[in-house]
């Protein structure tokens, strides 16, 4: 497999596996295992935004959290500039964490309510004292607040005094305090009012561009992901089923699940809605505790054959279109295809 690499990679992820203990089968039976992420491989270049999309239970948030070592991977490597995040010693991990920061869906829950905004931002420098001398804290806090579109005077206020959009801006300022190379955003706009989402999306895109940050952008909103990402990975039941440039995935998807997912999103344009073709998948995703054999999507796939049950498809560029997908029957969607 040769992943598409637009520049020098900052992050290389190989064979990432994260399992969770599941429910016991019966009173004394063995515990099942939930394969939240089951072997993820990808790279992230400097200055690149990788969008990760998928439905609930697909493993996208687990992938992000495992990369940050907020939970321990069961297998695999994640190399940040060649250094493995998963095996780093506590001291080395602290050094790595300075370079990778997180923006959460609801930063309010992560803020100490008794801290002022300045305290929240400066806490990063308290933990990493060699980053910035104390004398510069207030000047730098003011700069960061202005960069995220807040007044410098807000530093003395408490988080409860702010709206959702403003809190997310504070969360972004906090994440930028250490000057990270990698920003992991987990559903950063999905808790915001629709009229405010675009403000935060534009802010993240601008910060990514001006600082040449690498960004992992996890979201279920496909339109937002398309807007902000250079490349996109689509996850289904713990597997990356398709990965490619934003254009390749959104315009020329070759995995049936990606095609179904894209066609399911309602388009904000009533013109021609009667003619629009939609692939409606049957049923619900299977349980990640007992994923189907072979291809995990086969139970809902209209292209499934015997081979799909027997043999797990590898992530390959089968059509030479630059979109890498894990499907034995990968193909561009034609007007004749579609389950509906």
């Amino acid at each position: 497999m040769t992943p598409y690499v637009p520049g020098t990679p900052l992050l290389v992820v190989e064979g990432l596996v994260k399992l969770f203990p599941g429910r016991r089968r019966g009173l004394f039976g063995p515990r099942s295992t939930i394969h939240a992420v089951d072997g993820a491989d990808f790279t992230l270049a400097r200055g690149e935004t990788l969008g990760i999309v998928g439905e609930s239970g697909s493993g996208k948030t687990t992938l992000a959290r495992t990369l940050l070592r907020l939970q321990t991977a069961n297998a695999g490597r994640a190399l940040l500039d060649g250094e493995d995040i998963f095996t780093a010693s506590p001291a080395a991990l602290k050094r790595l964490r300075r370079r990778m920061q997180v923006v959460l869906q609801d930063p309010y829950q992560a803020f100490n309510p008794r801290f002022t905004v300045s305290d929240i931002i400066a806490e990063a420098w308290r933990i990493h004292p060699d980053v910035l001398p104390r004398a510069d804290w207030s000047r730098r806090t003011a700069e960061l607040l202005e960069q995220v579109g807040l007044r410098a005077s807000y530093g003395s206020r408490h988080p409860h005094e702010f709206s959702g959009g403003q809190r997310q801006r504070i969360g972004i300022a906090r994440a930028l305090a250490l000057g990270p190379d990698l920003l992991v955003c987990d559903e950063p706009v999905s808790a915001l009012d629709v009229s405010v989402q675009a403000q935060v999306v534009n802010l993240l895109a601008e910060i990514q561009r001006t600082r040449n940050l690498s960004m992992i952008f996890v979201a279920h909103d496909l339109a937002v992901v398309r807007h902000i990402s250079h490349r996109v990975a689509v996850m289904y039941l713990g597997k990356i089923v398709e990965i490619g440039t934003s254009e390749a995935v959104f315009e020329r998807a070759t995995h049936p699940y990606t095609q179904a997912l894209l066609s399911a999103v309602p388009v904000a344009d009533p013109v021609g809605r009667e003619q629009r073709r939609r692939i409606v998948l049957r049923g619900d995703p299977p349980s990640p505790a007992a994923p189907p054999s072979g291809c995990r999507f086969r139970t809902r796939c209209w292209k499934a054959t015997e081979r799909c049950a027997a043999e797990e498809p590898a992530l390959l560029d089968r059509l030479g279109t630059g979109s890498i997908s894990a499907c034995h029957h990968a193909g561009l969607q034609t007007s004749a295809s579609g389950g509906s």
Partner: protein, 330 residues
């Protein structure tokens, strides 16, 4: 879309609702007026706090008084003012002739009763069928909303169903007595996109089959474009615009609607520029003078901060509450 000659099934006039929690009452609906024609799908589009769910709650008689208070206005259902009915009469109507589908189906279902029993309850409460017939009817309804192995599944409890299946059960309850009006409050917001598509298809099919009117409450422009015949846009407890679905998307005549459309990324377009709406949604506890949108509006003039714009009819079937609506049309 013209109004059905049989007239409107729901006619909400100048509805004012406030809530008193601590201190002075907070006005959440400030003169809401719109009609729903028979057989149409009307989308009530707005963000959290715009008043769209309170409008639904008032219609269904679900506003607890106190702390809520319906200060003024009328809600006419087939000519009868629901606000003048006794709670018992209101309840009888709800379920029989109008029904509600909630956003969070799992929370709306009773966790300790099997789902078949809960659907059958609708028939029993309204005295439509005995236990046995009600149970059979509930299985038929589960089949109608696409639940596989309905006879067996009727004995299962809500937690044994996925979110999409729970929503189907809610819909089965809502259509049980063949109401003339169904209000669906964010029916797909809590669902994954492929499951959302299933529910949208189900709503379309039911609409074609039953001919009931549907009020779709949502903040999702895609869902509106997909399902609605007509759109009522709410902002800050008021209706700011009303138009047919094609006009709303092709030529919105209120700056809020225009800004909302320009701020949303679209799946079918790459990297078109997002133009955010500046500022934050209005706080009902700190009401503004003039137009509620004026602090965020690119067109605002001094007048907008002082004078609340009248709800003007600008063209047949088109209303806009903006001082500049007529200019925008020209």
């Amino acid at each position: 879309m013209t109004l059905d000659p049989r007239g409107s099934i729901l006619d909400i006039r100048d509805l004012h609702v406030s809530f008193r929690t601590s201190g002075s009452p907070v006005t959440v609906l400030n003169g809401v007026t719109f009609q729903v024609a028979r057989g149409e799908v009307l989308a009530l589009l707005g963000e959290s706090g715009s008043g769209k769910s309170v409008t639904a709650a008032a219609t269904m008689g679900l506003i607890e008084q106190p702390p809520g208070s319906i200060d003024r206005g009328a809600i006419l259902f087939d000519g009868v003012n629901l606000l003048g009915l006794s709670p018992a009469d209101h309840r009888r109507l709800c379920g029989e002739r109008l029904s509600l589908v909630f956003q969070d189906a799992l929370a709306a279902l009773n966790p300790v009763y099997p789902v078949g029993w809960q659907i059958a309850e609708v028939f029993r409460i309204h005295g439509r069928a005995d236990r046995k017939t009600a149970a059979l009817e509930s299985i038929k309804l589960m089949e109608a909303v696409g639940i596989p192995a309905a006879a067996e599944r009727a004995g299962h409890y809500p937690h044994q169903f996925s979110g999409g299946m729970c929503q189907r059960i809610m819909i089965a309850m809502a259509i049980a007595l063949q109401p003339e009006l169904i209000i669906a409050d964010e029916p797909t917001t809590a669902l994954d996109v492929t499951i959302q598509a299933q529910i949208v298809e189900l709503l379309k099919a039911l609409r074609a089959r039953t001919g009931a009117s549907l009020v779709l409450i949502t903040h999702d422009l895609g869902l509106v474009a997909e399902l609605a015949d007509r759109v009522v846009v709410m902002y800050g407890g008021r209706v700011v615009e009303e138009a047919g679905v094609h006009d709303i998307f092709a030529r919105p005549l209120h700056p809020y609607t225009q800004a909302l459309l320009a701020s949303q990324p679209r799946m079918d377009r790459s990297n078109a520029e997002l133009r955010p709406i500046r500022g934050i949604p209005p706080n009902p506890a700190a009401p503004l003078t003039g137009c509620a949108f004026h602090p965020r509006c690119p067109r605002a003039e001094a007048r907008c901060a002082q004078e609340a714009p009248a709800d003007q009819m600008i063209a047949p079937g088109r209303r806009s509450a903006c001082h500049f609506a007529a200019e925008m049309l020209a």
